[in-house]
Symmetry: C2
Subunit: 217 residues, 2 copies
């Protein structure tokens, strides 16, 4: 997908939501410039958070050695997943690319610190996961801000948390929750990869919307 008017600072929310893709193959091999990266991280940092705790951090990884080490780990985990699949699903999975760790040139690892904000966190007393949720909200801010600047983002989740924790020297109890490949792209695909490759199609919105109760009478 190419953008006409409305890109950059002026791309609308609705356009960004519909243009957004989970990018793997389309990184152009150049590295995002620092000012652009700062703008995107600043958008992430404006996310809502329970009790205004802002429990996220962002580790920017650009060292080729670290990118290569993570890519190797992810490749191993990809094999383990492929080996777990029945034959028909494996044949569908095999051509699907799952990461652009090195081609994006930049990883942004988002972490969650459950201790940020101390013991009395307004809004987390009853649902502890709202802390974790806050860090995820920051990711979607980052993603949409990136799209609006024509920067691609691809979320890689084929990793063991312990490996990533050690790779980036993340102290307990801080938890890495996402590795985001972030970089300039040649284009955004019109159709999400998992649909294009026949892995899984979208469900209609009408199936997801319920009225008054989850189970209809």
């Amino acid at each position: 997908m190419t953008f006409g008017n409305g890109a950059g600072e002026h791309m609308s929310v609705h356009t960004a939501i519909r243009s957004r893709r989970d990018v793997r193959a389309e990184f152009d091999g150049t590295c995002i410039d620092d000012a652009m990266l700062h703008r995107i991280l600043d958008a992430a940092h404006h996310a809502p958070s329970v009790g205004n705790t802002q429990p996220w951090d962002f580790v920017v990884v650009q060292s080729p050695d670290t990118l290569a080490a993570f890519a190797k780990h992810v490749a191993d985990e990809r094999v383990a997943f492929a080996d777990s699949l029945p034959a028909d699903r494996r044949a569908t999975f095999d051509p699907i690319r799952i990461e652009g760790i090195e081609s994006s040139r930049t990883g942004v690892v988002v972490t969650y610190d459950p201790e940020r904000g101390g013991t009395h966190i307004l809004g987390r007393a009853t649902v502890d996961d709202t802390g974790l949720f806050s860090a995820v909200l920051a990711i979607q801010n980052l993603w949409l801000a990136a799209v609006s600047e024509r920067i691609g983002v691809g979320w890689v989740s084929f990793y063991q948390e312990q490996f990533l924790t050690e790779l980036l020297d993340i102290p307990s109890p801080v938890r890495p929750i996402a590795w985001l490949c972030v970089g300039p792209v040649t284009e955004f695909q019109e159709v999400p990869d998992l649909e294009r490759f026949g892995w899984r199609n979208r469900r209609p919105l009408s199936d997801a919307v319920h009225h008054e109760r989850f189970r209809q009478q």
Copy 2:
């Protein structure tokens, strides 16, 4: 905050991210119209999801009886939290409004179904929480789309999950993860409530950004 040019379909991502507030007191008492609500839910439904599972559902609650029952429960949980606070924090907390359940006229309860997508979920084999994270990404899409239409959203988390599960007849293993108050507003505050009331200020972005490793050498 009032909006000049750039509202509605054309509000930019950056403007929406910066204008977004967690709304409690500013709902104007009118009910969102169905077409607008549909547009906002459609934006949520365009979120990324692990393995394209789209594990979210949206329960739209507008029955005054249900809104009142939930508001009563939240009021009780508010008291429990207030009672847990030391005196100085309690004095800061007391004037802070935590919900607009009845004044918004509409609750959108977002749920997560861990079984959506079956047993072989592409991308969830190593980090099971990526399913839950997907439903949270949908919330931020909803929130920003709403802001771009000048619709307020307030996330209420002062509830026991079991209460909400029973109130809306949500079948196991589906889990409610958020009650969102959604409705037209008189204005968006310039400064987040928790800053205005002195509960907790923002941290600078520079504190959140790390390079190459979380712990600097």
